[in-house]
């Protein structure tokens, strides 16, 4: 068995997991499982921005593969599928595993319409949860649609997260202010905060604290810092609009 191929495949699976929001220990474990399946020992070091994996061959030679993680989103299905692949890996041969990994990587997720409604009603239901009235629900649903279109149009460009979130926050605040001034909504706060839930790094803060308690201080600090800066850019984006108008 060619250990280069195995290493490449295993690290690719790990990369898919990491890019889509998995924890570092799950990534390292999955890479190990894939290696063990073919009789090799692979040890990895995964961080939020890269993976270094080393495979040990029968001849006691080591090969290392280093991958950088440049974009991170949250795709729970991809994590689930890679994990499932790892669990059932004994059933498949090398070609099948490679193809499955390829398929998982190229999965597009839900379609345009589904995502559109999801963004709209996610913003809307949070507005309701925070005490908004039906007209506020409508207001933030509209903002949710705007935000989805905004994200979609920028997704093909490699723009940094802080700018995207900051501008998104400005858009939300602007629309919220606009709707309030024209009496389309009753409570500007609930609409803005409800829509803002689409951007806020609440998940990141919680995961950061979780990582630290788990012992992975690097990941914890990295996530925490990112969450802090995203929150700052959100506040700046929003504060900017509120100050001008």
């Amino acid at each position: 068995m060619n250990k280069t191929i195995i290493l490449e495949m295993a690290t690719k699976a790990g990369k898919i997991m990491l890019e889509n929001g998995a924890e570092t220990d799950m990534v390292e474990e999955t890479i190990k499982i894939i290696g063990n399946n073919f009789g090799f020992e692979i040890n990895s070091y995964a961080t939020l921005t890269g993976i270094i994996s080393t495979i040990k061959g029968e001849d006691n030679n080591f090969i290392t593969n280093t991958l950088r993680i440049s974009k991170r989103t949250m795709d729970l299905n991809k994590i689930h599928e890679i994990h499932k692949l790892g669990k059932n890996i004994k059933k498949y041969n090398l070609e099948t595993i490679k193809n499955k990994i390829e398929l998982i990587e190229n999965d597009k997720g839900y379609g345009f319409k589904t995502n559109l409604f999801a963004y709209a009603f996610a913003a809307g239901s949070f507005t309701l949860l925070f005490g908004g009235l039906p007209k506020d629900f409508l207001g933030s649903s509209v903002i949710g649609v705007v935000i989805y279109l905004y994200f979609k149009s920028l997704s093909s460009f490699d723009i940094n997260k802080f700018f995207i979130n900051g501008l998104g926050s400005s858009i939300i605040t602007f629309f919220g202010l606009f709707m309030y001034k024209f009496s389309l909504i009753s409570s500007m706060d609930t609409v803005i905060i409800g829509s803002m839930m689409l951007l806020v790094p609440g998940m990141a803060i919680t995961n950061a604290v979780r990582d630290i308690i788990n012992g992975d201080l690097m990941a914890g600090m990295a996530r925490g810092l990112e969450a802090f800066f995203i929150a700052t850019s959100l506040a700046v984006g929003s504060g900017f609009i509120l100050t001008i108008f």
Partner: protein
């Protein structure tokens, strides 16, 4: 309270779609979010906010561990969407906004509050997942 559950359920369901959760995991994760929110909501009338978030996350993590085994998926598939109604998104935002509006005392208190909530949530997760890990290890050793 039913309406609170419904809103939290819907919010979690929508976020699960945004996170590309597929199949029947969607409905189960949505229920997780609703249940978590209800436990938080009920707890706030008896306990402080920290304890309330802890209880809510504690219940949610137990729910996620059980459901994920039934659905044969990773715990985080159910846990992460379920946390969405609880995570202190508005807290973070308000903290930063207070800083920008030059209200440092307000920012400080909101910030501490936000960290407190994040910590309570993290603790709720850690307690259950550590317990589960211990059980798994015991099971592995006795085999």
């Amino acid at each position: 309270m039913i309406t609170q559950f419904m809103y939290a359920w819907l919010a979690t369901y929508c976020f699960s779609i945004i996170f590309n959760v597929k199949g029947n995991k969607l409905i189960f994760s949505a229920f997780g979010g609703g249940i978590a929110w209800i436990f938080y909501y009920i707890s706030t009338s008896h306990y402080s906010s920290g304890i309330s978030f802890f209880i809510a996350t504690f219940v949610l993590t137990i729910y996620s561990e059980i459901v994920s085994r039934y659905l044969k998926t990773v715990v985080t598939s159910i846990l992460i969407p379920g946390l969405i109604p609880l995570v202190p998104g508005s807290g973070i935002y308000h903290t930063m906004l207070s800083i920008i509006e030059k209200k440092p005392m307000e920012a400080f208190f909101k910030g501490i509050d936000t960290l407190n909530i994040a910590g309570a949530i993290a603790l709720g997760i850690i307690v259950i997942s550590s317990t589960v890990k211990i059980f798994k290890d015991i099971k592995k050793r006795s085999n």
